[in-house]
Symmetry: D2
Subunit: 206 residues, 4 copies
């Protein structure tokens, strides 16, 4: 297929598929009411903007986003670390509610995160510690569009410093806001104007 | 969580999540009009029975099922071998249309099939050769509920012989029919009556 | 790098790296003394021909091959389904002995088999049922060089029929013998003369 | 098997298998002679301490460690992102030399890193930017023993700050040194005295 026809094919596809927003953050630890409410509102905003929510099918803040998206009528996909529903519930103590589809990768907690990131058109960081830092780093390294919900604690307050340390241009773009609705708007605007031109993960060492 | 409460949790989840039917078969080769029509009708039947269709996001017969399911208003999930949408289109010559969500596993053709099988409550074999035989074998080994759409060529006419050769009870159950609508009905009946009790992949050597 | 220089690079690499032979077969079930001895002799023959043995790090016949290769001074690599040594021992009841290195894929029984096949220059089928049939099908579909140790039961006696059913040319070549030493010799001869020219898995639908 | 017997089995295994040290760091970018020499000496030290070296089979600093380990007579395992040797060379521009075995995960750059980390008894960070930060985060989150080779640039100078930010106890232990030989000694001492008691990745949310 000639290069320009392919390109149109991609655009055609993009125009017809809903954008997918990955939500990554604290699955465990004490989560304040405020943070849970913000995560819930993030899910609401994703669904109200006609996007699909992707989570790691975990408890914690991403589950609150799944709930928000579900209650606003949006599609929610969970990328599970488990081999099966049984293992999802009994080994990973993970939820079934609020998700329309669970994908059982069977590749463990960090194995499935890569699938999660690859499948999201943009990822949002909300709270989170070492697991989330791993996800942020992978998303950054793969040139993803990233939203940081500031004021949600954990590593979110340190992302700017971390990016300074990394000193590597990967094509990734990071957008910060403390309001979930405004963050989603900014991400979608930027994606549609700019980032759809280079949304892919990198395919070789850069 | 006590064992019995967990068990109810699972049932609760099952009652609320739609069942997922994986469609596996020829992605390439010459496909007759008749076989394409049967694959399309299979997708229609999955959606009309309020189930989610899962495919390997490939061309060929599974794409016809995706089309049928999509046109009947059903959700269609594609488990892509690619790392990204770009690779999906340009490396794997794979379609974007008819799928609501593409999951980019980035694990190649046979790597992603395992995810496909793990995520499906039942899988249906339609036509297919060595790749599909690999999928059938994995699904059988993992104790899945399997539907075989007879009359669609390829390995479908030989599944009964192959099962005789294998001589291993894995918990898998195989249902055969040449009518896509009847096959779906039989699979759903059996799943709801019996197979939901042991729907998981096996978690250790058996 | 110009195409022809790359090609030399590959040949250079091949001349210096030992060939890797994957052994796949029954991990469970009753295994007769004779079959265990043949599997052991297969491992001996692999090591004595200065090749590396790859197994799924499982019990059963592949473990006997690991033992044979180890006792003949060869390197043995096990591709484990487990996330860790702890899970390898306690969840999968799998052995630690006779392997020099265990690779913890954390992707489950069939997830790790794909890695096993991709990493082997040739794979040998010894006994085995549905799991092994899945491995054979994947190896065949990916155009691998395959050895079948006839007389070891299970699916080995049916491979010829299965290949007739598949009716697909993938570049795979199958060599049959009932003597482990002769089988290894034939495989290495064919690999060095012919199959090294197209040893790769396929990278797109064929 | 009773719990205490299993425990002995693990110890037995550990006493007989060589420890595996993963080396992670800059695969690309300008690498000074000094940093390349330190990476080389790290490989030497790993092999001289009778350990196996694991790398991501990439160019850059880890390749220098592979070279050092190889030239000191040690075993070197590369966990490749590629599906095959062809893709390893032609898509990822990755080296074949100095490695005894390449494992073709076919799961892409960050997909294979998880396998790399899971398979290493300890991981060492040398230079590196966002990719390496992702690897460090995963290793930390999974409770691994981690060595940081200070003075090698990139994120190595910031690990202490990052750990302060993370505020999560995972069982991970980090040892810092600027001399490759001393770093290896310290890691092996700590592993043998303490960390072998909880060397596994975590198997559920913690």
């Amino acid at each position: 297929m000639p290069e320009d026809v392919r390109h149109e094919t991609i655009l055609f596809g993009r125009q017809n598929m809903k954008l997918k927003i990955g939500v990554m953050g604290s699955a465990t630890g004490t989560l304040s009411k405020t943070r849970k409410r913000i995560a819930y509102e993030l899910g609401l905003a994703i669904a109200q903007n006609d996007c699909i929510t992707i989570t790691g099918a975990c408890p914690g803040l991403p589950l609150q986003s799944a709930k928000g998206a579900h209650e606003a009528g949006g599609i929610v996909i969970g990328i599970s670390p488990a081999l099966s529903e049984w293992e999802h519930v009994n080994r990973y103590d993970s939820p079934l509610e609020y998700h329309d589809v669970l994908i059982f990768t069977g590749s463990g907690l960090m194995g499935r995160e890569v699938v999660n990131i690859r499948s999201s058109d943009a990822v949002i960081i909300i709270g989170g510690r070492s697991g989330t830092l791993g996800e942020f780093s992978i998303a950054y390294d793969e040139g993803k569009l990233i939203g940081v919900l500031i004021g949600t604690g954990g590593i979110t307050s340190e992302i700017k410093n971390i990016v300074k340390i990394i000193k590597k241009r990967t094509g990734s773009e990071i957008i910060y806001d403390r309001d979930p609705r405004i963050l989603i708007k900014k991400l979608l605007d930027y994606y549609r104007k700019e980032h759809h031109k280079h949304p892919s993960v990198h395919h070789a060492y850069t």
